[in-house]
Symmetry: D2
Subunit: 356 residues, 4 copies
């Protein structure tokens, strides 16, 4: 079964292929009376947009969002908000050569296995272009959460290069096109990306995200844990291969006495002396910052020839031309933020339903 809907109460359904007429999503369950216009959404889409530099895909997409429904006289009505983004720089011709060949690391093989049919042009439905819809939905989710909740993400690793955590500064993130929080890392990372692009190869990366200002009490103990749903949201992003909350995998190496976040009373209520938990206990938010890290694999489209087969079952080789990102983790940064926003908005509504 295909399920293109995210969320339980704050829900969005995405549609569209990379080389079709348009992509879009229907956002449902948004509370009424929230001021919303296209500029509110465009702001975030512009962050994600390719073509900004040599370090991301050269595809030129203005990614202009249109609101087709659900807003009346500048406010949400409580009805579905239909958003559409036309595809303007699709060049299906780029893909003639690879028609029928399964690109390693792409969904060509599995779509063919499952559906018996797939749109080979730019990944079709599998294209990371779908993430524009997530960013658009995330813009609305942020409005629901309000100004108190602050969500921000950064790129903390590219290939084998990690930031120096001593230099971590959220204010740096907006100042460089790599969303890197370590001023010192920007230059070597840029150079490495230029080099890998020239080699026709690519790098993976790790994105870190933090949400502050989230009240204690969001989430549910079983099968709708806040950390579970954050993890699920992150793993739904293209090329995500791993996710961790708080201390994450590192917590496995610790003793219970090291990992425990002890509690004191601060000026504004409970104060945790550390945050190995990453802001959740028993699947419910503690009021501390929610923190997660997401691992992205390297871009699968590379210029280095790879062994593969075609849809008739014959062995062949493939080079994936086109206009690709040398490190998709860069453009994943705003997407990770958006998915965090959507998950939190959904849980805010769920909490309000049960606990008033």
């Amino acid at each position: 079964m295909s399920f293109n809907t995210f969320g339980k109460l704050f829900r969005f359904t995405t549609w569209g292929e990379s080389h079709g007429v348009a992509i879009g999503c229907v956002v449902d369950g948004c509370p009424p009376g929230i001021p919303l216009n296209e500029a509110d959404i465009q702001l975030w889409l512009d962050q994600r947009r390719p073509g900004a530099s040599k370090l991301t895909s050269q595809r030129k997409e203005p990614d202009t969002v249109e609101i087709l429904s659900g807003v009346f006289e500048g406010k949400t009505t409580g009805h579905p908000i239909s958003l559409m983004i036309k595809n303007e720089d699709a060049r299906p011709g780029d893909y003639d050569e690879i028609r029928g060949k399964f690109r390693p690391g792409h969904a060509d093989f599995t779509y063919h296995a499952k559906y018996g049919i797939y749109d080979y042009r730019g990944g079709g439905r599998a294209s990371a272009r779908e993430t524009a819809c997530r960013v658009a939905a995330g813009a609305i989710a942020r409005k629901i959460l309000g100004a108190k909740v602050k969500i921000r993400a950064a790129l903390v690793q590219i290939g084998p290069m990690t930031i120096d955590r001593k230099n971590f500064d959220w204010d740096q993130v907006a100042k460089n096109i790599l969303f890197c929080p370590d001023k010192e890392a920007v230059r070597p990372w840029r150079e490495a990306l230029v080099k890998i692009r020239k080699e026709g190869d690519s790098y993976g990366g790790v994105v870190e995200v933090e949400a502050t200002g989230v009240s204690a009490g969001l989430g549910a103990p079983h099968y709708a844990k806040l950390d579970q749903d954050i993890a699920s949201a992150m793993m739904s992003i293209h090329a995500a291969k791993g996710v961790e909350i708080g201390a994450g995998f590192e917590a496995s190496s610790l003793k219970g006495s090291e990992n425990a976040d002890e509690i004191r009373i601060g000026n504004d209520g409970p104060r945790f002396l550390s945050n190995n938990a990453g802001g959740t206990l028993g699947g419910i938010s503690t009021g501390q910052p929610l923190t997660a890290r997401v691992a992205f694999k390297p871009t699968s489209s590379i210029l280095i020839p790879q062994k593969t087969i075609d849809s008739s079952g014959k062995e062949t080789e493939i080079i994936t031309k086109g206009r690709h990102d040398p490190c998709i983790a860069i453009r994943a940064v705003p997407v990770v933020e958006a998915m965090m926003a959507c998950t939190l908005a959904d849980h805010l509504l769920l909490h309000r339903a049960q606990c008033g």
Copy 2:
């Protein structure tokens, strides 16, 4: 909102508290005509059961499952299968001392914040005892999947100690009570666990799981990706803090040319030359082994005094007596297997629905 239901089509809803009358679950959506009796389920529950050794909790629970509905003349009827496990060794008295104190690392604080009420006895609804229901549901899921699908998990790290992957042998797992696949690691791990228990402390750990024999085609591109749903299922387990698929976080460090799983034609169809993807591409199974790793934090109940507050907001200290596991990751092994089985059974039915 509370959501105690796992799954889309193969679904189970769990209920019950650690120190209540019983725990149980209702398994819904099971195909009809599948031979099923209590022994089929008990087999797997016995693996998870505490009290087996000094290295797990000393709580003595026979964990005897009763089938209350959904089976007629030895076969599933297609109707809900209600399973109940009575609580027989609950000792609520153990918990009088900690009443009202929020145990660090436990859900006491967050349940109190969310619901304004919580059952402090052994974690109440937050207790890992709930995982017995998952294991029971997993036993049914395995029957749906059939003998061709083989799911097995192992403990690959305890605290700072990892296995030597050269020694990895699935056949070792059943031969030691630590579910350890490295024969050489068993003895030092046992000693470390005995020591940490004496110190009143605990260790985290990492569980690795593999499912073989899964056909290509299970999953869906967006918001029901197979790897997303596996990740979500794993992160719904108590104390899970991270999850990765295939090469996982390691993939972030790789180049695209290193990470690519090239494809050739083998005797039985497509053959991948590596499996960094962990058996999924674009959210859909490739037919290769599905592989994942799950990080568990150390047991939060320790005998070392910790700073905390109570429900009236006063600062205090706490020692969590009771009968606790020095490393909960050990008992998580059969739970990880069960959640993998349930996720796959759910996706098998979903795939059948859409693609016939």
Copy 3:
């Protein structure tokens, strides 16, 4: 697929067969902090219980409910409430004679067609005994709705005999075992029922339900209309064949000018001059009484021989012995009330989620 779960946010999942060990349900999504004990639920179950008179089934079921989870120190915890009712007067022997024969009007034929297997004893999963679970869940739903919301149902027709609406008096309903609101109708109805029972035959009936005190604003325009969800809830009850809201089928005969509910301002806000709409407009409650009528077919188990076939495809005849109701619509009255309560509780939580 089997779906044994009612509701979106206030949800219950029922399980169990007529002649199994027990039946039960898991109520999920209940707000925390609501005082609840077994007597609160038993009160309503006692109304539905068979064996009360010659006019309902002679099966003697105490229908004693046990709360197995979700309540702590007399209050709901926000976690799943597991309810169990043991089957105590099951007499599977009664059914040996009809084994393998498809009873006309029953689910035997369709269960066999769908699942290839069915429990022929007393209807198995199809038994109206399942409605006890609905009544139990409804008792909890009423607590969520609070005292302001008043739900009451009555039997307004038995076979060809309808009440005289001039005599309609809600206070009469509790005074006779037929839940009849027309004092004058009780005696002739009783006599007709005694007679039809003697003939080995049965009657259908119509139940009318009203909910007052429901605020304006519950419901949603599309696919979760309040009247749609009430209709769906009613049609999920055993033997229901039709449902109408407000003027219902009668509205089809009216002109627009006759059907319109004009609006004036009363002392407490808007006041409608009529209620042909039955309390909803555009799928959302108006604040007027919600009214519905549900048609039930006659009991299918009768002592008059009927032509049928058996599971091997042979033609045969059947007489359904056992202890059956001469008119199931009587016992449907508390079930209709319960389903109304559950639908409203669900929509109350949904409304709170979106509109705060």
Copy 4:
């Protein structure tokens, strides 16, 4: 909460307002490989289209559907099918006069009560224009069901005038613009409609629907009964006030011995001697024709002045100008068919999932 999604596995989500840019829907869960183009959908939309005669609304909408995604090289891909219909004859100016006044029988009052905001132009989200999306989705559902399943609906009552059932002839339905199956009734109905339109008033009506060729076995016993889901689907249509399956309300008047559908063996398997059940038993299809009737209230927009209030709470009068149908039940006929098709397609996939 707003829920604009119909269905469990075959699902569609509608969006759009009567006087916005466009309306549309996203159809998800469609099996892959089904031939589909715009003409396949347009065919059914043209039936529903207003402006065809003096007996329906004079709004001139070409209702041209565009497929924006989910179809590749003429076949469904298994991915979401996004459909859009532009609004071309919206005349918001028509509504200035009624701005802020609650039209009796419309959703103005309840939308205002729930959301605090509503689009007064032509009903906004509440407009019956939304049903074009249902018809479009229904066209796809029919393709899934295949040629064996035949769905047809007819208008059997307008205001107080019913057809003579002796004259019932499905072949007549396509021959008159009233979808009337009784040749003799067409002329008097036409005359009555012309008259009521002149009077500025309107009529209600009843639509009957039948699905043949549906295999035994679709549906589920509880909370996803086939008849329950058909009823729910019908009651989700604008202006529907009642629904009945098979003998429906009439069954309430019958004795069990009269209502029973006895079973014999025919040439192609089981043969029922009557169909009072309307094709379902225990919530599951019997293989007989599925039959239902739906009651629609008269169009609420009439030219006769009605008492009402405005959004500031002042008493006033209203006349609803605009281009309205004298009997909306006429145009409901193709919508009823579409909702039947969507319900059956959904249950076909559900059945396949559980029972293979």
